[in-house]
Amino acid sequence: MNKIDRMLATIDPAADHDEPALSQGVEELLEEIVATPPVRRRASWLPGRRAAEPEHVHPSPATTAAAPRHGPSPLRRRLLAGVAVAGIAAAALVAVPLVSVSQSAAYAVVKKPDGTVQVTVREFRDSEGLEAKLKAEGILADVTFTDADEHCARGRFAGADLAYDPPSTKNMTDQERKEFDAPENWRSADAARPINRNTFVISPSYIRKGETLVLEFRPGNHPEMAWWLGTYLAKAGSPVAPCTLVDAESDEAMVKEMAGN
């Protein structure tokens, strides 16, 4: 370090701060971040920056960390992309080996002081029991657990926001896109979001009167894919039809793509 650098070191704004401890806020941020859908997933109807992004090289951080963008903030854009993907994909998925815990219930429902309801899923069974427990907490929910190789066909209900049946954004104007991105249109992703490997949080404040929270679970059908959770809101007055099972796609292709192959 030369003399100028040493002089500058005396005015280092971080010098007075202790080594930042890994506090609870730091831990919470970690959980919040890993609960957002990761990496490069972009549904085909989401206009992507992918074409401009080199795929298999390691470009310098200056060019990759936050690529040039227009519109909303980088964070919002990313979060919305995640939200939108989760919406269409019916999957807020988390990698967890399904360990069967025989003595305890298939799930745990805990009401938090802030009014949110935390649901820990241990086994994919007893959807009616989960619905009843949620109802006891004042949440009208429709829960479906399917096998790994099938899922519910679309069209069971009218969505209260865009998540269940999102329009194509392909030819949207900037203004339309802005409206499309409005948080209000992705409320269902806020209404229920995973916070870690086997837990998700329901925030009743995002659910309006008469709306039904629709949860569609299925185990992954690839060893590296644990489970999927689709979270939607059915419009008030729109009854949720029973699940019509259709074949689910293999998770293999997606797992491979996510792994960068």
Binding site: I4, I11, A14, E28, R41, H58, P61, A66, A86, M258
Partner: protein
């Protein structure tokens, strides 16, 4: 139907990166922002970028340089006013606010503060990366995405300019502020 998924091992890798680099990223943010809200935003957005682009984050020591580069972009966007308050890191924001203390102006360092503030942002950034983050020229080049040669030249010029503002020279102390002007 396409789904976002956490690739196998991604969470563990990210968690290790987060724990190892969090202190450095927080310091980076503290040094370049005025409000704790901004600090929280920069940390949150930087690590979110790393999570979403984990494949792009290099292994080893280079990971921190990548994060600095990402944080720099986040800050640039903030300064352009494009960013809104991050929804993440609510608790962190509170914790940072509690820890925030006002530091009293020290007459001995006031001149250095003033001179540093008078430099243009590009000069400030190379000097900060060298002095505060303690990076070498090639490391700074990685963060900034330019060549080592360019960094060496920028650093040299920035040090000269700061020295001139402080009435000193890069290497040896001088007795009078005018001396620098006379050279």
């Amino acid at each position: 139907m396409q789904d976002p998924r956490v690739p196998f091992g991604a969470r563990d890798r990210f968690e290790a990166l987060y724990r190892a680099c969090y202190p450095a990223v927080q310091r980076y943010a503290l040094r370049r922002t005025d409000s704790v809200d901004d600090v929280a935003d920069v940390i949150a957005e930087t690590f979110l970028a790393a999570w979403r682009r984990l494949d792009d984050v290099p292994e080893g020591d280079a990971a921190l340089l990548w994060l600095y580069g990402a944080a720099r972009r986040v800050l640039a966007n903030h300064r352009r006013g494009e960013s809104r308050r991050s929804a993440l890191a609510a608790r962190l924001r509170g914790e940072l606010a509690v820890r925030q203390e006002t530091t009293l102006a020290d007459p001995r360092t006031e001149a250095i503060h003033a001179a540093f503030a008078a430099l243009d942002p590009a000069d400030r950034e190379v000097l900060a990366l060298a002095s505060w983050e303690g990076l070498t020229g090639p490391q700074i080049a990685t963060v900034l995405g330019c060549s080592s040669t360019a960094v060496r030249i920028r650093l040299h010029k920035a040090r000269k300019r700061l020295a001139r503002l402080l009435g000193t020279t890069d290497e040896a102390p001088v007795m009078t502020p005018l001396r620098g002007e006379a050279r």
